[in-house]
């Protein structure tokens, strides 16, 4: 693949990455076979088994909280659903471990999806409360529905599985099995972060509004995250039940959910490794502190508080910061020239609004605007502060549903489409107050834009190619690996433009692209917009710099109090008496000299 060759890490960093990976693999294999070769006491065996099964469940929190930013306080409930499925399946119904496990995972997935579905209507603290309610319901059912669950007595005599030709009845063999499952899950969760889905999740976490506008189906992403998290909770629980052969409802209470959450946070919730470190530590810490007898709980609590205070990003977060692990050095990249993959023919008007209105209570922010944007043109929207410009842009990109009127793109009515559907239809935009995904690299920000629905490319290599092209176009390709938050304000605006461009939109909406740029940088922006126009892109922009608008706009619409007060070429509009009175003031800002 030709564009794959464009993106290769520097040879040195690849060698060290391979070496690091091999060391890790050898270490991992040693740990996995250790239980088989070294005699372990029952006590140590149990502790390791608990650590392995808990980590699987806590990795679910890495996905839902660490990657997607949704607080779930019901991980113990899913842990319980998996555990009870295996317990009741093998003990009461005699359907064997594997079938019970499958049923447990399906049940967890369904419950997780339902929990995720509630995120359509509620978010933040309220969603966290819904998860607590769900947790309490599960606990109540486990305790009270005695005929099915055996109630507070719990279930004993849970069987361990057989693999073809291999019995896992032996504790040491079973521990090895759990460690192998943990590796698989850990690797999958670690890898998830670098996939389309993982990037979409992180985009939702960092800025849900912007995620929708650049094409992420935010709702589906959240439901998926909850489902994955629930399945991992269920899987951990199933392994746990089989490992300890006895379970009871108190092992799956709300308090346990809090323990799971603490494990994730202590280790570093955004990293699969951190999760493993945190879980291991919180299982070992009470054992290490046992000699303290009465004050053991106080010391345990204090240690947890100290770790949280001094390492807010968790242990792994701190390690990452010190050692720069996981931050790949800038790759030697020569992006191909940027080229827009969009249809340049069609109706003469790419965008048309009819009687578009948006009221907030009594405030008529946009009040019956008719607008026609010509294909391939640069169309500027100007007007006093508070005249409704940004509101209009928000209605166009689907963040607000209009009170009245319609929006037609390419002859298709898109009035009722969600932001990500409009993005798929070819609308890209930037924001007045920069909305980037702050914890992601510059490249990852642009990749989220590149992977928009309806895009003609799908492979990771092609996506990266597009992202680098867009970054090259705005002149930031060399800095691709840096964290986006480290860039100065003006360059962050360019990343937003690149993020929109990487999705190859047919219509680009820019909200004050020139804000925060000095006159020379504005000249560069004018050049960039001219080049984009040359690529056949239609640009609809808001800006207050009339010298800049006059240079690039083919057409200007002036808004005041939500209504259109003037319309036409820059030459006519900027000399319109009403525009001068309401907006321009005495001297139109004719820039240089």
């Amino acid at each position: 693949m030709s564009n794959a060759t464009l993106i290769r890490p520097a040879p040195g960093s690849r060698r060290s990455a391979v070496a690091g990976g091999m060391v890790l693999a050898v270490l991992a294999a040693t740990v996995a076979v250790l239980p088989l070769t070294v005699p372990l006491s029952g006590y140590v065996l149990n502790m390791l088994m608990q650590a392995a099964t808990y980590t699987v469940a806590v990795l679910g929190l890495t996905v839902v909280l660490g990657y997607t930013g949704q607080l779930s306080l019901a991980q113990a409930a899913f842990f319980g659903i998996g555990a009870y499925a295996v317990a009741l399946g093998t003990v009461d119904y005699g359907i064997g471990f594997w079938l019970s496990l499958m049923l447990g995972l399906v049940a967890s997935a369904l419950a997780g999806a339902v929990l995720g579905l509630t995120s359509l209507r509620i978010g933040g603290h309220y969603l966290a409360m819904v998860t607590i309610a769900f947790q309490q319901i599960v606990t109540l059912v486990l305790v009270n529905s005695i005929e099915v669950t055996h109630g507070p007595d719990g279930v004993s005599g849970i069987a361990r599985p057989y693999l073809p030709g291999l019995s896992l009845a032996n504790g040491r063999a079973y521990l090895t099995f759990c460690i192998v499952v943990l590796y698989a899950v850990g690797l999958a969760v670690w890898h998830l972060r670098r996939t389309r889905l993982g990037r979409a999740m992180q985009a939702v976490r960092d800025n849900e509004l912007a995620a929708g506008v650049v094409g992420v189906h935010t709702y589906r992403t959240k439901v998926t995250a909850f489902t994955i998290s629930a399945v991992l909770g269920g899987l951990g629980g199933a392994l746990f039940a089989s490992g300890f052969s006895y379970i009871s409802p108190d092992q799956f209470s709300f308090a346990e959910s809090v323990v799971f959450l603490t494990m994730a946070l202590i280790g570093g919730v955004q990293s699969a490794f951190g999760t493993a470190v945190g879980t291991g530590l919180l299982i070992l810490l009470p054992e290490w502190l046992r000699f303290l007898k009465e004050i053991y709980l106080a010391i345990y609590g204090l240690s947890v508080i100290l770790i949280m205070v001094f390492m807010p990003e968790g242990i792994w977060g701190l390690l990452e910061r010190i050692t720069q692990i996981g931050r790949s050095p800038s790759a030697a990249v020569t992006p191909r020239p940027f080229r827009l993959d969009i249809p340049t023919s069609g109706a003469a008007e790419i965008l048309e609004t009819r009687g578009l209105a948006k009221y907030f209570g009594g405030l008529r922010a946009v009040d019956g605007v008719d607008l026609k944007v010509t294909r391939g043109a640069v169309h500027a929207l100007i007007g006093p502060n508070g005249s409704g410009k940004t509101t209009l842009l928000n209605v166009l990109s689907g963040l607000y549903r209009p009170t009245a009127g319609s929006v037609v793109l390419n002859g298709r009515d898109i009035t009722l489409l969600a932001p990500h559907e409009r993005c798929a239809a070819g609308v890209g935009r930037t924001f007045q107050n920069i909305r980037l995904f702050r914890s992601l690299s510059i490249l990852d920000n642009v990749l989220v834009g590149a992977q928009r629905p309806g895009s003609s490319v799908r492979s990771e290599a092609a996506l990266r190619g597009r992202a680098y092209e867009a970054l090259g176009f705005v002149g930031l390709a060399e800095r691709a690996a840096e964290l986006v938050g480290n860039l100065p304000y003006g360059h962050q605006r360019l990343v937003e433009i690149a993020r929109a461009l990487a999705g190859h939109p047919a219509l680009l909406l820019l909200d004050e692209p020139g804000a925060g740029l000095n006159p020379t940088e504005k000249q560069d922006l004018v050049g960039l917009l001219h080049r984009l126009k040359g690529h056949g892109l239609t640009i609809f922009l808001i800006d207050h710099d009339m010298a800049m608008v006059e240079q690039i706009a083919d057409h200007i619409t002036v808004l005041n109090f939500g209504k259109r007060i003037a319309e036409g070429t820059p030459r006519d509009v900027l000399r319109h008496p009403a525009v001068m009175a309401a907006y321009l003031g005495e001297v139109p800002g004719h820039g240089a000299t």
């Binding site: 006093p384 508070g386 107050n433 480290n486 860039l487 100065p488 000095n518 006159p519 504005k522 240089a592």
Partner: protein
Amino acid sequence: MALLELDGVTAGYGAVDALNGISLRVEEGEIVTLLGANGAGKSTTLRTISGLMKPRSGSVRFNGQEIAGASANTIVRLGLSHVPEGRRVFPGLTVRENILLGSSNRSRVPRAELESDLEKAFGIFPDIRKFADAPGWTLSGGQQQMVAVARGLMARPKLLMLDEPSLGLAPIIVQQVFRIIADIRARGTTVLLVEQNAHMALSIADRGYVLETGRLIVEGPPETLLNNEEVRAAYLGGRVAAG
């Protein structure tokens, strides 16, 4: 004695030095502007002066007192007010509350005096008067910028530092803002101004400094900077004459 004096100030984020030995001074009653490209370190300079960032080395003297390393809270009480870029309006508070918060550094101010200062602020920005009791988030971006500047004025500072006060404002309001800045100085407040709108900034400034990647490269009165070909090319949108 200069009101504000920086001597060899170095500061940065992580491993990178954003400021590399900055020395500048602002005399009482002056308007001084700081120009430069994005990422040159203009905002970092203001953040270092106001205590939002700690300098790694060098000294910052305000009114004869060393303030390098002091907390932002202490520095604002000495009469140094900073209006950061990007608005920072408290979304849940009303516009009135947002603006009144700016006076937190003044102790035991009579109610009537606060009301009269508030009234002056609304006099300067009549467009936001009608939103006095509306929560901050309901304002448009440009209106929020007005609230932020009004809040900075409520501190009645000796030195007011403005970081891109014209960002996102309509041309007619930008003209007002610059008139207001000149007016603020006429009333005795010294102003240190970071502004991308270099022409506007130089039209009211007494002196300007040009920053490039953490170093000051040129200093002088507006005419000098406006006539400096390099400065024109790099920051004023002008082109260096061919040949």
